[in-house]
């Protein structure tokens, strides 16, 4: 039985406003070649000017991943021809990356495990090729988007570890605010280096499977490559060191044959970019700007806000959810109610098929308003779902939505009393049971009133009226 050893290279697009070397907008999507200028389209004569935020974000990541930050770091050209690379070199960092060493802790089956980080460097992303029939159309919108490459040591030994590690890393990257880590949009991509060996023997020859863009692809490609390498070895063959691709639709990996001879990248220092020198003070300044991570947030939620650990863990699984919770709880002063509502309604509504991410279409202020409306009896819990639908990704305020949809529940006891009387009359036997001391029937009667009033009655008030009317009889 062979044991697998995995090392990952994670490419993460940084969430800056502009590209790494020019002022073009760093934004996913857009009409092809509309976020472009001569610099990121590789025109003759252009020169790069480094985006300070891209450096800061990379250092921030290094600090969050316990790396040593280089005091002196420089840029190099990685030369190769490909249509998505307009200058025919990628500006990257070869021998002096911004961050070295480091480690990431992640959780698998309740155990904390560690992966060492080899290095983190900053480079530029390439453009995109749109393959259509016999041609490839080239879009340079992505060309020059700041891209951070995180290289791990070969510390992973199963597909489950790889995915759990990636999930943990993704959470950190999102918490520290350097990337939106959307794998489906390509802002987080992963290369997997895999080798197999019998236990106790030295590592085998590794292959690299490039550009995996979902956890599922990572998992399946690892299993595929593991099986393939075991098969080759079992048949008496040897593993060739090579670069491979993963066809996600067919769930097969394949070799990029014939490309190997071209991989003489002829790295040399980029003459048009000056080195970056970071002082101890600057590094500390960046460290101070790191937003609170998951662990700290869990502590605050449980200790200061009094949430159960279960709630704290669910809320912090995704930074957007945690941010929504904190923002809401800052206004609506009942953290547990806010937590309950987010864990049920928001997470249900924000779930996207085929994605690990939850999409959030409501601001903390709007959510706090909805919770206040429920709490003060203006709307029912049931009606709040319609309000949420109405304000989701829109500009309307919850209160405006309540009025527009006529969801304000009836709290006029005179009007309600006649409705309750009608229900009691129509459900005489239930009323009798209630009077005989069967409290459970109350819920049934309240439900009937709500139904009769199309959900617009205040259930609390209805309950009180039922009690009053049946007791005084």
């Amino acid at each position: 039985m062979y044991e697998m050893t995995l090392g990952l290279e994670i490419h993460c697009e940084l969430k800056t406003e502009s590209k790494i070397f020019c002022g073009c907008r760093n934004e996913f999507g857009g009409e092809p070649n509309t976020h472009c200028c001569p610099v990121c389209s590789g025109f003759p004569g252009v020169m790069p000017v480094l985006n300070e935020k891209a450096v800061e974000y990379t250092v921030r990541t290094g600090l969050a991943l316990n790396c040593e930050i280089s005091r002196y770091s420089k840029w190099d050209r990685k030369n190769y021809f490909y249509p998505d690379l307009p200058k025919a070199w990628q500006t990257s960092q070869y021998d002096l990356p911004l961050c070295k060493g480091g480690f990431v802790e992640y959780e698998l089956d309740g155990k904390i495990k560690t992966v060492r980080i080899n290095r983190i460097h900053l480079e530029e992303d390439a453009g995109k090729l749109l393959h259509e029939g016999g041609v490839s159309r080239i879009d340079y919108n992505r060309s020059g988007v700041p891209l951070m490459e995180i290289v791990t040591e070969p510390d992973l030994h199963s597909e489950a570890e790889a995915v759990a590690f990636l999930d943990g890393l993704k959470s950190v990257l999102k918490y520290i605010g350097v990337s939106d880590v959307k794998m489906q949009e390509g802002s987080l991509r992963c290369d997997v280096n895999l080798s197999v060996a019998k236990p106790g023997q030295k590592l085998g020859t590794r292959t690299e499977t490039k550009n995996l863009n979902s956890f599922s692809a990572v998992k399946r490609s690892i299993l595929f490559e593991y099986d393939r390498q075991c098969g080759v070895l079992n048949a008496g063959g040897t593993i060739t060191q090579e670069t491979r691709r993963w066809d996600d639709n067919k769930s097969v990996g394949y070799s990029m044959r014939g490309k190997e001879d071209a991989h003489d990248y002829r790295y040399f220092p980029e003459p048009d970019l000056m080195p970056v020198v970071l002082s101890g003070e600057k590094i500390e300044e960046i460290r101070k700007a790191i937003p609170r991570l998951k662990k700290e947030r869990i502590a605050i939620y449980t200790e200061k806000l009094g949430l159960p650990l279960y709630d704290a863990r669910i809320l912090t699984a995704d930074k957007d959810i945690a941010d929504l919770f904190e923002g809401t709880a800052a206004v609506f002063k009942n953290p547990k109610k806010a937590s309950n509502y987010i864990m049920s309604e928001i997470m249900r509504k924000g779930k996207r098929e085929g994605s690990e991410d939850v999409e959030i279409g409501v601001s903390p202020a709007a959510l706090a308003e909805i919770l206040t409306l429920i709490d003060s009896g203006v709307i029912s819990l049931a009606a709040s779902k319609d309000v949420l639908d109405a304000v989701w990704n829109g500009a309307e305020s919850p209160l405006a939505a309540v009025e527009r949809l006529g969801l304000r529940q009836n709290s006029d006891s005179g009007e309600l009393e006649s409705a309750v009387k009608e229900v009691i009359a129509a459900n005489a036997s239930a009323a009798e049971q209630y009077k005989a001391g069967n409290q459970k029937v109350a819920a049934f009667l309240v439900g009937q009133v709500m139904k009769a009033t199309k959900g617009k009655s205040n259930p609390k008030l209805v309950g009180e009226l039922i009690e009053k009317l049946l007791k005084t009889n």
């Binding site: 406003e17 502009s18 472009c36 000017v49 749109l130 002829r266």
Partner: protein
């Protein structure tokens, strides 16, 4: 140092150049001559000398992260040998 035909072919491929047989012969002679001349470098003692990549002492030349308007797409594509109004076009790139 004599630069071989095989190396000339490898180097030409790295630069995406096609050379005729005659050009290959000429390039062998040229590169061999250049490497001969480069022996002048060996005469200089550079032990304990750091390399110079930049003549300037400047460091940390950085730009604030601010988006500026992009270029007109038509102006960028105007020089392209094949384009469709949105993109540059090449025969399908296979990996």
């Amino acid at each position: 140092m004599k630069v071989t035909r095989k190396e000339v072919e490898r180097i030409a491929a790295l630069g995406r150049l096609e050379l005729s047989e005659e050009q290959k012969r000429e390039m062998e002679a040229h590169l061999s001559g250049m490497t001969e001349h480069f022996k002048m470098l060996d005469a200089v003692d550079t032990s304990s000398v750091p390399p110079t990549a930049h003549i300037l002492d400047k460091v940390n030349v950085l730009r604030p992260d601010k988006a500026e308007p992009s270029f007109e797409r038509d102006a960028l594509l105007a020089n392209a040998p094949e384009r469709d109004g949105e993109c540059y076009i090449v025969p399908r790139a296979v990996e």
